[in-house]
């Protein structure tokens, strides 16, 4: 009996260790799939970029070029022009998409009959393939027999067809319309989620105090939406700077590079054209620079948002 007790006493700490080790193993195993995916699809490709920044690499053979890819980048007017277009596109997109999404979220949050149907309609562009929707807009914007021109002519707004995608003055606006149409439903859902988290009694108190609709929106809704607003803005900024798919389908960066944005430029270098071979090494350098640019913009926004928080 005493022997059994002694054995139990000796084994007790062992069971404790086993349980601890088992928990650690379980943690590692639980994390393993996510970590593996992160390494394979995120960290490895990023490290892969560094491998070729000093080379002229065509996908099969790499030729050492030293610092040429970097010096070329500083003097590449086409790239810096594309950076300028990216800023123009992103700023305009955010100026239109965020207020629109917020207004629609506010409207859709009201208990209006049929608002559920509109929610689905507004969100639908988010789940449609960008390439497909851009192709459809290609028909809508067509200068000859295009739907948009037909409507504008029928309503007397224009007398002559506009070459929406082929004219340098209108191409950027055309791609922006597609971007806003395709993205505002998504942000609308985010805003609705934020709106639903604002306690209803705050609105009731405001109403008792005699606050009108606009006052309530600017004094209650917007301040209480602030944390969510910051996240949505950050997502909108990064998404706008990375956009290129619909532009690739609609204009291929034209006319005369008017809608050439930096990630489309990088894509064209990475995969080559019908007469040029891929320039993977240089595309890697530009990818890193583009990532830094997006990172700086996002960082500046976060800094600004924090400063505003302190002030307010």
């Amino acid at each position: 009996m005493s022997e059994t007790k002694a054995k139990t006493a000796v084994k007790a700490p062992k069971r404790g260790m086993d349980a601890n080790t088992s928990a650690k193993i379980a943690t590692v195993l639980m994390m393993f799939p996510a970590v593996l995916l992160l390494c394979v699809v995120s960290i490895y490709p990023f490290l892969w970029l560094f491998r070729y920044v000093f080379y002229d690499y065509n996908g099969m053979t790499s030729y050492f070029t030293g610092l040429h890819n970097f010096t070329r980048m500083f003097g590449d007017t086409a790239f810096w022009a594309s950076v300028g277009h990216t800023f123009e596109y992103a700023i305009l997109k955010i100026i239109f998409i965020i207020p629109l999404a917020l207004i629609m979220a506010e409207l859709m949050s009201q208990k209006i009959r049929g608002s559920g149907v509109f929610r689905v309609i507004y969100f639908m562009p988010t789940i449609i393939s960008t390439a497909i929707s851009a192709m459809v807009f290609g028909f809508i914007f067509a200068a000859y027999n295009g739907v948009l021109n037909a409507v504008l002519r029928a309503t007397g707004i224009i007398s002559q067809n506009i070459n929406w995608l082929g004219d340098s003055n209108t191409a950027m606006w055309a791609v922006l319309i597609v971007a806003v149409w395709g993205g505002f439903g998504n942000y609308m859902i985010y805003f609705m989620s934020g709106l639903s988290s604002i306690p209803h009694d705050v609105y009731e108190s405001a109403m008792i105090d005699g606050a009108g609709g606009l006052t309530t929106f600017f004094r209650i809704t917007l301040p209480m939406l602030s944390p969510m607003f910051k996240v949505i803005m950050m997502l909108a900024i990064t998404a706008a700077f990375k956009d290129y798919e619909s532009i690739m389908v609609l204009t291929q960066g034209g006319p005369d590079n008017r809608t050439q944005v930096m990630f489309l430029y990088i894509y064209q270098l990475l995969f080559g054209t019908s007469t040029t071979k891929p320039q993977i090494g240089y595309a890697c350098v530009l990818s890193l620079v583009a990532a830094i640019i997006v990172g700086i913009v996002t960082g500046l926004y976060m800094l600004l948002a924090r400063k505003l928080d302190d002030v307010m």
């Binding site: 639980m30 593996l36 000859y144 070459n163 995608l165």
Partner: protein, 470 residues
């Protein structure tokens, strides 16, 4: 209990992940791949994987591969069609050791042979060809060695079994006739005038000419430049440098199409099929493209009106340079192929007289060898017969493969046609950027300078190329 469940769940998820990562079976490379014909022979048979980027001939290929597999017990063909991002798909598959044994190849695939050879991807077919007189007879391979395209020196890497014609003008007979033209004029300036006349007759609903967003310059203006004596892809083979100055009159003349308002508005922003559909609807009179349009305007977008096929105009009505045609329907063996003799038997089958007779009579491509031209009944090929090769069509040696900065010559010169820059500015810009890229490529060893001292612009493939590294 909760911990046990957690462990079980974690193990199951991890096992699932590993299983998913490890499952690399299947012969396709993803994307829009489609295996149309699979090997069905016994387990002892050698399976040769063939990848193709041609969908238009799928029915015929499937039928003939089925016949091959049924009549062979030692070799079976597994055939896969991959239409998207062809060159990159092949490169990625090769690097991942999942490449097929054989791939289809054509001049239009933009796969620079020297890059693939120096990258160790393509197997030389020369030893097999030398030992096979029947193959030599049917394909006339030694008459169709195109330096830098399918051969380098004496080494042959693929043999074209067919050819896509150089570009032609496809036109709406009635629209041109109403504007006072019986056909396509012999000079570019006259064609510009004809397009203007059609547009004036059209009163805003019908236009002279239509383009597309997909490589608009190469649809037919590039062909006009070549036939007018301009440098092929801007490369001066005699001096071994890029020089686009000979393109100036062609670009300036073509720019009048836009200046006159003769181009279907916005057609340069539409995909090629949209523009084809608009031509088939009668929205404009003049369209330009190569022999693939025979099938397009017969089956894909059937044209209800009388449409003609004409040779391209030139600057002064005389042909001073060869028009590029595009050898196609070739097969190349990858170095990763483990059963090279069996793979050669499959390539030989695809190039055999029986196989090619049905293929050519089916109208899938034009014959390249005189031998096959004489064997087929061209009356069976439909409108493809209108695109028969002319005596001034040839294959140019491949210019140096350079990594240029900025837009390529097709985009830059098209901008000049649109009037965004002047022809002089575009040409000066191209000369600078292409020659800088050439010098850079020579210094880092990524390209060589091709020089053909006895270059004849009317017979560019007849010259003797030499390669310089400086």
């Amino acid at each position: 209990m909760r911990k046990t469940m957690a462990k079980v769940t974690a193990l199951a998820v991890a096992a699932g992940m590993l299983a998913a990562c490890g499952s690399t079976g299947g012969s396709t490379g993803g994307g829009t791949a489609e295996t149309s014909t699979g090997a069905t022979g016994s387990g002892d048979a050698t399976v040769i994987e063939v990848w193709s980027n041609n969908r238009h001939d799928e029915e015929y290929m499937t039928q003939m591969i089925d016949a091959f597999n049924a009549s062979h017990t030692d070799i079976q063909i597994e055939y896969t069609i991959l239409t998207d991002d062809w060159a990159n798909s092949i490169q990625l598959a090769f690097q991942a050791n999942t490449a097929p044994d054989i791939i289809t190849i054509a001049a239009s695939d933009n796969m620079t042979l020297s890059d693939y050879v120096s990258g160790g991807m393509f197997e030389s077919l020369t030893p097999y060809i030398e030992a096979d007189t029947e193959f030599q007879t049917v394909t006339e391979v030694y008459d169709h060695m195109y330096e830098g395209l399918n051969s380098i020196g004496d080494e042959i890497y693929w043999v074209p079994n067919g050819v896509r014609s150089g570009t032609r003008i496809e036109y709406n007979v009635e629209l041109l006739k109403n504007a006072g033209y019986d056909g396509v004029p012999a000079t570019l300036d006259e064609l510009v005038e004809a397009c203007k006349a059609v547009t004036e007759q059209g009163n805003g609903s019908v236009y002279g000419v239509g383009f597309t967003s997909s490589s608009p310059l190469s649809r037919w203006i590039e062909g006009v430049a070549e036939m007018s004596g301009a440098t092929h892809m801007g490369y001066d083979y005699v001096n071994g440098v890029f020089d686009f100055s000979s393109w100036k009159p062609v670009i300036e003349s073509a720019a009048k199409l836009y200046a006159d308002g003769s181009v279907l508005p916005g057609s340069e922003t539409q995909g090629v099929d949209n523009s084809r559909a608009l031509f088939a609807q009668g929205a404009f009179a003049v369209w330009g493209n190569a022999s693939q349009e025979a099938g397009v305007f017969t089956d894909q977008f059937p044209v209800s009106f009388d449409w003609g096929v004409a040779e391209l105009p030139t600057m002064d009505g005389t042909v001073k340079g060869a028009l590029s045609c595009t050898p196609n329907f070739g097969f190349t063996m990858l170095t990763s192929c483990e059963n090279k003799d069996a793979a050669w038997e499959v390539i030989k089958y695809f190039s055999s007289e029986d196989f090619m007779k049905g293929y050519l009579e089916g109208g899938y491509t034009l014959p390249l060898s005189t031998y096959m031209s004489e064997k087929i009944d061209s009356s069976k090929t439909g409108r493809l017969a209108d695109f028969a090769l002319t005596d001034y069509e040839d294959v140019y040696p491949t210019p140096p493969s350079v990594a240029i900065e900025g837009d390529d010559y097709l985009v830059t010169l098209w901008n000049a046609v649109l009037g965004n820059v002047s022809a002089d500015e575009a040409i000066q810009d191209l000369n600078t950027r292409y020659n800088e890229a050439l010098e850079r490529g020579l210094s880092n060893g990524s390209c060589t300078r091709v020089v053909i001292a006895d270059y004849d612009p009317l017979h560019p493939s007849a010259g003797t190329p030499t390669y310089e590294t400086e």
